[in-house]
């Protein structure tokens, strides 16, 4: 959790309204987490504590739910979110190696964000660009027919 929490007063007000709207409902935690992630982009400890306190459930339970479902993220997206396609075509063309190379360069794991907040790394399903396999996306840019050697140079263009 190297990235400092940068939540604003407005975001906190929004979250409080969401919690108030769901309070007392059975099974309120998951919908509140979804909306909280929409507000903040991810679910850091500060946000989970507000939810636990607001709904009267334990932080352990909230964290348990967040780590169970893959659509919840503990880490923010970077300024340049990187996605590596692990769909069948890309995978057989070696996108697994591309992903390893990225982990190595950025020193983060899948689902994490670099300390400077620049890059986050995700492994994605097929993005429909099989003709360009193996493919990675950085923000809205698509980089296709990649080789492991090219990866570092491409990432440098964004730093």
């Amino acid at each position: 959790m190297a990235i400092p929490f940068k939540g604003t007063k407005e975001q906190e007000e929004q979250l409080k309204a969401v919690i108030a709207a769901h309070k007392g409902e059975k099974g309120a935690t998951i919908p509140v987490l979804h909306e909280a992630q929409d507000i903040y982009g991810y679910l850091p400890i500060e946000v989970q504590k507000m939810i636990a306190e607001g709904l009267g459930v334990s932080l352990a339970e909230v964290y348990g739910i967040v780590t169970f479902y893959t659509q919840f993220s503990l880490n923010p997206k970077g300024e340049h979110p990187i996605g590596v396609c692990l769909g069948t075509a890309c995978y057989v063309k070696g996108s697994g190696d591309i992903l390893e190379k990225l982990k190595d360069i950025l020193k983060i794991d899948v689902g994490e964000c670099t300390d400077d907040g620049k890059f986050s790394l995700d492994a994605t399903r097929c993005i429909g660009a099989c003709g360009l396999a193996p493919v990675m996306t950085i923000g809205d840019d698509v980089h296709g027919r990649l080789t492991v050697d090219q990866v570092e140079g491409i990432v440098k263009q964004y730093s």
């Binding site: 959790m1 504590k49 636990a52 334990s58 352990a60 339970e61 964290y63 348990g64 169970f68």
Partner: protein
């Protein structure tokens, strides 16, 4: 009990039986002499059907069913011992064992482990599945509890205990699939959470994944150090359960043998925390009477249970002024040993190493609280649990059953029966009432057994007339019950003068530091009731049954403390609390 429960007829392994309709197959089988293996099931705590160890064949059912959650019904036919059942149970167990740190020889639960016993019972000969294994760092930051997830079987008994029974809720299941683990939010150590150190998770755990922080090394070292005067005290509940570690039936008081064993371990003096309990009552009953007479904060709530105290600090900071300012008995006794006793016997208090044997692991944390000292000396230097004491006795080669019955050392050899019953839920209340009734009434009250506050009902209430005044009291044991009681007071639905709260269900007899009883045995008997019997019989056999009639108390106050609530008593015997927040 008044509701009529219908019986149903069913067959288990061809045998016709009749059982109450609210039974599960597991209960029906057990009552009729058929043992079904279980792992995640824990009576009154955990009933999820998750581990699949208790599967049985049911006529007409599609697949094998978990008997711990399967209700009985009229005409049900069950087979618990077919080849299919046995083979499937064994494969499930082998899969569990394939991701288990199988270093049984050096595990604290060696030979007391339910997983090990299952492997033996189900005939596991080798573990055919080899593959990736999870490895986890051991969390040993807490002063009381060690968590080793390498030994965890994900049965969730600890989670259910912590969350549903105690409502402490600092552990839960995290992640999913192969990465699933039990832990605290954001991988925090238990020490950094609102864990109250009650240790109920430890005595719920079937394996060695949870254990107490072991302090026996410090004690052995102190005993070996000739420059130290090593003094030990034992809590009332220890004598009620220690025998179980040496084959005595549950509920056997082994007070005399315990004193003998402690002497043979090399302690210089062997004292009884019951004396500390008598002292607590002197101070606490006085505090209650003062609060009632002078319009102080009521209800007053007992402060002997360190698990409860920390629970209050995290969850009910608005009740901190209601907590009695009394330290717990062993802390009081430690403070007296290092002051009055040391002075009287010409011992340098700095050379005293005070050891408490407790049924409790929260006492380990309590002994480390910065407030628990006087004049720069810790009240208590080391706390070991009943289990750790048993380990020391075994390590020393002492044959427990062959020991003579010995007395505690003088001058504190005769505590009152009131001090003994501290070990069971309702006991502190009863002990305090025995003294407060005499104080408020101005005469010795004959009727001293307060049965309204005894027993294992979660919340007990009584009204006691003392000196013409109706005093309303309540007793709660188990923190879920404490939460309920306090919320009722907060909401204005109840009010009392005096409340006793103990963190552990049943009180100290079922403390987190007590001998671990296998889930199977918990199905057959209520250990809270059995162990309490040992305590109440010792009270009945006691010549002195009220704390203020203990001659040691009279001497102690005459020679040193002057009177309950005196300046010196406050310095040595009273404490303060801290609001800690939930996160």
């Amino acid at each position: 009990m008044s509701e009529k429960i219908n019986m149903v007829n069913m067959k288990i392994n061809g045998m016709e039986i009749s059982v109450p309709e609210n039974y599960t197959i597991l209960e029906a089988a057990r009552e009729n002499g058929i043992d079904i293996p279980t792992l995640c099931y824990l009576k009154d705590v955990s009933k999820t059907g998750a581990c699949r160890m208790c599967i049985v064949e049911i006529k007409g059912a599609r697949a094998l069913q978990a008997s711990c959650v399967y209700p009985v019904s009229e005409g049900l036919e069950v087979l618990t011992n077919t080849k299919k059942v046995r083979d499937q149970r064994r494969v499930t167990l082998e899969l569990l064992l394939s991701d288990h740190d199988r270093k049984c020889l050096s595990c604290p639960r060696n030979q007391k482990c339910e997983l090990q016993a299952l492997a033996d019972d189900l005939g596991v000969e080798n573990i055919p599945f080899e593959g990736e294994m999870n490895t986890y760092d051991i969390d040993e930051v807490s002063a009381s509890i060690v968590r080793d997830n390498n030994k965890c079987v994900l049965c969730r008994r600890c989670v259910n205990m912590c969350k549903n029974v105690q409502t402490v809720s600092v552990i839960d299941t995290m992640e999913r699939g192969f990465r699933t683990k039990v832990g605290s939010a954001f991988d925090m150590s238990l020490a950094d959470t609102a864990c109250v150190n009650c240790g109920q998770c430890i005595i719920s755990c079937p394996t060695g994944a949870l254990r107490e922080k072991n302090n026996t090394k410090e004690v052995w070292n102190a005993i070996a150090d000739d420059s130290k005067v090593v003094i030990v005290q034992t809590a009332p509940a220890v004598r009620a359960a220690l025998g179980e570690e040496f084959g005595y039936p549950m509920g056997t008081a082994v007070t005399g043998k315990m004193a003998a064993a402690l002497r043979r371990l090399g302690f210089d003096k062997v004292f009884d925390t019951d004396t500390g309990a008598d002292l607590t009552i002197m101070e606490e009953a006085n505090e209650l009477v003062e609060r009632i007479k002078n319009g102080g904060k009521l209800p007053m709530i007992t402060s002997c249970s360190p698990g409860w105290v920390k629970f209050c600090e995290h969850n009910f900071p608005d009740f901190l002024d209601n907590l009695s300012s009394c330290k717990s008995p062993h802390e009081m006794f430690g403070a007296i040993i290092k002051s009055y006793y040391a002075e009287k016997h010409g011992i340098d208090p700095k050379s005293i190493f005070m050891v408490s044997v407790m049924p409790c692991v929260a006492k380990k944390f309590e002994a480390g609280r910065p407030e628990m000292e006087c004049g720069g000396l810790r009240d208590v230097d080391a706390v070991i649990s009943t289990r750790e004491l048993a380990d020391m006795i075994k390590e020393a080669g002492i044959m427990f059953s062959k020991l003579p019955d010995e007395e505690f050392d003088q001058p504190f050899e005769r505590a009152s029966g009131a001090g003994v019953i501290f070990g069971a839920t309702g006991g502190v209340m009863e002990a305090a009432l025995r003294t407060a009734a005499d104080t408020l009434g101005g005469k010795s009250v004959e009727e001293i057994e307060y049965h309204g506050v005894r027993g294992v009902e979660g919340i007990k209430e009584a009204t006691v007339n003392m000196g013409g005044m109706d005093v309303k009291v309540a007793v709660a044991h188990g923190l879920g019950n404490a939460r309920k009681l306090l919320e009722n007071i907060r909401d204005g639905k109840a009010d009392y003068h005096f409340i006793e709260i103990m963190a552990c269900p049943g009180g100290c007899v079922n403390g987190g530091g007590q001998p671990i009883v296998a889930s199977k045995d918990k199905m057959d008997k209520d250990l809270r009731v059995e162990r309490a019997k040992a305590i109440y019989s010792e009270d009945r056999a006691s010549g002195i049954r009220k704390s203020h009639e203990n001659p040691d108390m009279v001497t102690l106050y005459n020679e040193y403390l002057e009177k309950p609530g005196s300046h010196r008593a406050h310095e040595l015997l009273h404490t303060t609390y801290t609001s800690r927040g939930l996160f």
